[in-house]
């Protein structure tokens, strides 16, 4: 006899580091539909940005997310720079790439660990997070802080990286690469992991596009779209090509992030090799006036800032569209047809950042 029930998944759940709820309608053990509920930690940052001076907002937007704080600041600063018609010096553009890719790398490590934990691989979780600690130490050394590093500024960067620290980054990345070589094969080749991820939470390429997917969720469906292709900061000089997979399931999304770890290591090495000498900050002039859209690639996908300024020292409007916000509708499409036991793995496969979503 079949049994149809509705159960709440979250907002507090062992697999969720942050609160989101899915109301799951089940036919026996199979998910029939899912309705997402957010709003548990919304902070009104867009409104706060209208109250603060545009220069102060650099520090405000960093607090949208503790995992990719630098990239939020970068997106905002690039928008203000466009409005003021100024350009960051070449060295600052390369420093922006270095800090951005280190953020992506530590974020993907964080996710790979959580993903491993979701199907009970606690030892693997700890290995990824131990590896991540080396990257957090780089932030501590180069910026004086592990989480909110505040090195991006309107017109460039607030800090430079010394030659000694650049060498230390290269040495650390060698070790990170070595450790990745040990841990990534478990995610990609282990029988149990493949059993829990291959063909699970699958969406088609058409669904991914129609539902507005972003980042690795989009690229796991064979869509080669990554904001770094726009060439912002120094990406245009580093021969960047997006990582794609074709199967659109949990395994493909994991594979995209795993390959992007190696890609980030390569991009940082290249940026250090090509790092030009010179100034790190162009002095801003005047007050921003006009409207602009700034887009960058976060670890979770496309980040979009819309800025409207009227020539005063405050913005008229700051709109922030984060990638997890875009990936909630695709998540709703991934769940129908799956077993209840697969829900945690599928939810984690979009790498949800509720802090970003609840700006």
């Amino acid at each position: 006899m079949s049994n149809r029930t509705v159960i709440p998944f979250g907002p507090q759940h062992p697999v969720l580091p942050e609160p989101i709820q899915l109301k799951l309608e089940l036919q026996d053990e199979t998910v029939v539909s899912a309705v997402p509920h957010i709003g548990y930690v919304h902070r009104g940052i867009e409104k706060a940005a209208e109250r603060m001076e545009y220069t102060q907002n650099v520090f405000l937007v960093e607090r949208v997310c503790g995992i990719c704080s630098f990239i939020h600041a970068l997106c905002y600063c690039q928008g203000i720079e466009q409005l003021q018609n100024i350009e960051a010096p070449p060295r600052a553009k390369y420093l922006r790439v270095i800090w951005s890719e280190l953020h992506r790398l530590h974020s993907h490590h964080l996710w790979l660990g959580l993903f491993a934990d979701a199907f009970g691989y606690e030892s693997l979780f700890m290995q990824f997070w131990r590896n991540r600690e080396m990257l957090m130490d780089i932030f501590d050394k180069t910026a004086g802080s592990r989480v909110i590093i505040s090195t991006c500024a309107i017109g460039g960067t607030r800090r430079d990286i010394s030659d000694a620290h650049l060498q230390e980054i290269l040495d650390t990345l060698d070790e990170v690469n070595k450790q990745l070589d040990k841990s990534i094969p478990v995610i990609l080749n282990d029988y149990s992991v493949r059993k829990r991820t291959v063909g699970i939470g699958k969406i088609t390429r058409e669904q991914a596009l129609e539902l507005g997917a972003a980042g690795p969720v989009l690229r796991a469906n064979g869509v080669a779209q990554d904001m770094r292709q726009l060439g912002y900061a120094a990406y245009g000089e580093l021969g960047f090509e997006p990582v794609t997979e074709n199967d659109g399931d949990c395994y493909a999304r994991a594979k995209v992030r795993a390959r992007e770890c190696y890609q980030s290591v390569d991009l940082v090495r290249k940026a250090i090799r090509q790092l030009p000498d010179g100034e790190i900050l162009t002095k801003p002039k005047g007050r921003p006036k006009g409207r602009v859209i700034s887009r960058v690639e976060q670890p979770r996908g496309e980040l979009l800032y819309f800025l409207a300024a009227d020539g005063t020292n405050r913005l008229d409007r700051l709109r922030i569209r984060t990638p997890t916000f875009a990936n909630v509708p695709p998540l709703v499409a991934m769940l129908p047809g799956c077993e209840l036991a697969d829900v945690p793995v599928i939810v984690l496969s979009i790498d949800p950042c509720i802090s970003c979503t609840e700006r």
């Binding site: 409104k47 507005g212 904001m227 409207r291 409207a308 020539g311």
Partner: protein, 131 residues
């Protein structure tokens, strides 16, 4: 007598690739964007005093295009979630935080996506200063 000089306000630089559309033709324009395989990115609402300005952002091959509608306060806007389901979340957000009535949203949270009972509505409206 001193000669007076008219000071013209500096023209606001707008985002490129933007098309103004009337509310009545919005759904047709959005359907066209969907037929042309544009990816829905998001929407942006601005409170312009007597009206709302709503922007719809679409992407194709990293190229952004935008539709803009202006909705007088007190009037409603049709949901585009029947064409782009992905819009349901941001439409609920705009409806709740700006107080712009959006009709026929695929999943309508009835002004409780973010706000709970008893909270003053439309906190993003310009007449609601941050305290």
């Amino acid at each position: 007598m001193m000669e007076t000089m008219e000071i013209k306000p500096q023209e606001i630089i707008d985002i490129p690739n933007i098309r103004d559309v009337d509310v009545s033709e919005l759904l047709d324009r959005v359907k066209k964007a969907a037929d042309e395989k544009r990816r829905f990115v998001t929407m942006t609402a601005l409170d312009r005093g007597d009206h709302f300005e709503v922007l719809y952002h679409f992407d194709r091959d990293l190229h952004l295009e935008h539709l803009r509608v202006r909705v007088p306060k007190g009037r409603s806007l049709p949901s585009i979630s029947s064409v782009y389901l992905a819009a349901f979340l941001v439409e609920n957000e705009i409806k709740e935080l700006f107080g712009l009535e959006i009709t026929d949203i695929a999943i309508d949270y009835q002004n409780h996506l973010y706000l709970i009972e008893g909270v003053e509505p439309a906190p993003m409206a310009k007449d609601k200063p941050l305290e």
